[in-house]
Symmetry: C2
Subunit: 444 residues, 2 copies
């Protein structure tokens, strides 16, 4: 509440002001201010709210108001709301709709939220192929009065509702009025299947710079359209999911401050405990080298340095590869190409860190006499281990997402903490093996 901006009394706000101060207002104030908006402003405002805000606002309004505002929304937006409320509210809200909309909303609810069918609006402009340009324009004009998601594209369907082509209002406007739609329509239509994943739909948009994309079923029958403004939300949502998984947790599926503490803990505790159990292996590995540590305590001093370097380099590599996979830049077939690149990267990065590490050991010995008379050999052990651990960390981080994807798991599960945990145990083995090789008979 520290930086709460100075706001006017809620009742005197315009739509733009309400929009600005929305996050700072209590639910009560929001309802008050909303009720005082001019009707037309209120319509725009309501449609622009997030689903969560729409749910909260509807809950605070009277039944009559609820009916009014709910009927304003396109079926896909109503479906989004119904997915967020309790079963009882679900029934009540559904009963407020008129019969045709209720049927459309119910059809949409059958789709998963994150597939094309769950994103689409069933309201689009149909055009007959044999219509003339003038007829089509007049038809779109009439449709503009309805709640269509866009009237700027006419979708040309045959008698079986199969998508045959698309014609933009712009194309219609520059064509002679007597020509037939079938002569000027674009037949090479980019469409998506109704059960395509929303990530795939977003990729289609980005590739083709589209404003709307038609959704078809397995038989090519058109079911609805997905518009670009929905896609912006999808892209942000998918990125958020990937980022949270990369951070070593389950995706929250809701804004941070709106997620109840207990639910958030559930999303975090699972992975954190799993990683911890994996990390317990480091205690086992260290136990294996207990005698070596007892004989040369100096070896223990570099353990955190060595394993964290492996973790950090693995984090870089896995992040790069997971994101490139999500963007479709890297496919399974690029396995060997990526391996070669990351092997080279790992060796180079390990070389850099190894050199810094070596210099540090030599310098500290000269400055503080910290490491005893075998300091050169110790420095070499640290340096060579760093090359090994960083190369291994880099390769493991880069290739684990491939393995996960090949096994049909989500590559993003190869989170930075997951790779770090994996590399920690093997890093210890690399380090102590190198120590046994170089320091046996000297320190050990």
């Amino acid at each position: 509440m520290m930086e709460r901006p100075p706001i006017k009394a809620a009742e005197t706000l315009t739509a733009a002001e309400l929009s600005m101060s929305w996050p700072a207002l209590e639910n009560e104030e929001r309802v008050q201010a909303y009720r005082r908006l001019r009707r037309e402003e209120a319509e725009d405002f309501f449609q622009g709210l997030s689903t969560a805000d729409q749910v909260a606002l509807l809950a605070a309004l009277s039944k009559g108001e609820r009916r009014l505002w709910l009927r304003l929304l396109a079926p896909d937006d109503v479906a989004d709301i119904l997915l967020e409320v309790s079963p009882a509210e679900h029934e009540e809200l559904l009963s407020l709709l008129d019969e045709p909309t209720r049927r459309e909303v119910s059809a949409l609810l059958a789709y998963a939220e994150d597939e094309a069918g769950g994103l689409m609006s069933p309201w689009f402009a149909r055009v007959r192929p044999e219509a003339t340009v003038d007829e089509a324009i007049n038809y779109l004009k009439r449709q503009a009065r309805d709640h269509l998601e866009t009237v700027y594209y006419g979708y040309v369907l045959d008698a079986e509702q199969r998508l045959r082509g698309v014609v933009s209002l712009r194309q219609l406007m520059i064509s002679p009025g007597y020509r037939r739609v079938s002569d000027i329509m674009k037949t090479d239509v980019v469409s998506v299947n109704e059960d395509a994943d929303q990530e795939a739909v977003a990729r289609r948009f980005a590739e083709h710079d589209l404003v709307a994309i038609p959704v078809v079923d397995g038989e090519g029958r058109m079911k609805g359209i997905v518009t670009a403004d929905d896609i912006v939300d999808v892209v942000e949502e998918e990125a958020t999911e990937d980022i949270q998984k990369l951070g070593g947790m389950q995706a929250l599926d809701a804004p941070y401050l709106r997620t109840p503490l207990f639910r958030m803990l559930g999303k975090r505790a699972g992975w954190l405990s799993a990683l911890f159990v994996g990390e317990l292996l480091t205690a086992t590995a260290m136990g294996h080298y207990e005698d070596e540590i007892a004989r040369a305590v100096v070896l223990a001093l570099f353990v955190p340095l060595i394993i964290s370097s492996g973790g950090n380099s693995g984090s870089q590599a896995t992040t790069l590869v997971i994101r490139a996979m999500a963007l479709g830049e890297i496919r399974l077939g690029d396995f060997f190409r990526v391996s070669r690149r990351e092997l080279a990267s790992g060796l180079a990065l390990g070389g850099i860190l190894g050199t810094i590490g070596f210099v540090r050991v030599i310098a500290w010995e000269h400055l503080f006499g910290a490491y005893g008379r075998h300091y050169v050999l110790l420095g070499l052990t640290v340096a060579i281990s760093l090359v090994g651990v960083v190369t291994w960390g880099t390769l493991a981080g880069a290739l684990l997402p491939f393995v996960l994807r090949a096994l049909r798991f989500d590559p993003a599960s190869a989170s930075a903490p997951f790779v770090a945990t994996l590399v920690d145990v093997s890093g210890l083995v690399i380090y102590f093996s190198m120590a046994e090789l170089l320091l046996r008979g000297v320190l050990l």
Copy 2:
């Protein structure tokens, strides 16, 4: 090359097929196949290519072809291309444009690539406020022949080019032909300033579910529009940047496989070395406790476990907070709210890990006699340290982004590896202090 899909000889591909096999084709094959497309297909195809692909294709074509295809593009797309090529090519391509476009492109080049001005197209439909609906429709119809980014919105400007309102083609279509534009236009226009950051522009789109947003200068004069298809790219680009920073490196600014190895190493080596130098402090901290380790080697066994738990919990917290900040869900003013939440989370998560750790020490002693007769005290040391380290890691991870933002740095620099490194050193101090407290006179 393993999974290269079976493709037809490049010369017989349609636009859709070419689009599918594009990533698998060599540059030579791409040019060949592109040249054989039908003119209209080729236009669509070229406009749909990424800037990098457009640059590569233009470079391989003859001067005449270059002029043809370059002139097809909107000024903002031409500007994007010019930003990618060498100064010599820059001049040559600029010389291929006609004079008015050249001037428009030059004006766009003055904007930074990642601000609203650098994203916008200067081609939009202007409408006079005193025009009638019929006049406006006819005007948009004529404009539809030109290369406008969208004819579906008319922007109403006064004599000083200041944005006074917006009217959609849809609104025009359902209004009586004799009414004035100024009577039906929407005056409450959502716009962005020309030097607004592209992330802010994307946020505006997402909030208001827009298809296009007008860009104005400091005096409210309209400069151009940004369309939703550009925003999808921006959102993906910004997410990629944040993800790469979170992974502990500089953002690549180009697809992984297209970034030259040496350049990529530069982006990774800097942060990795900086983190390594920070991590060298762990060797210093461990050196400080060398005597304790010598007296009780068993203490060293749990060092990797303790510090990695701090790192993992810090990674979760920083990831959550950075993403929530990027999405505008959390502001600086939420500092105390987030602190309270994360303090509670840290204690709860630390409690869970501490319990697992304690059980493990007890169990291993009973199963393998691993830790000597003071194993209960050792288990307590590990457990209490875990609570401390996880709580501290969680708090540090959550609050560091606030500190960075308050200091006007990018919060995403508080990457998972950065937080882990910070927490590693302090984790060691917490662990060994706890050991001194609980084990003095027993093991130490």
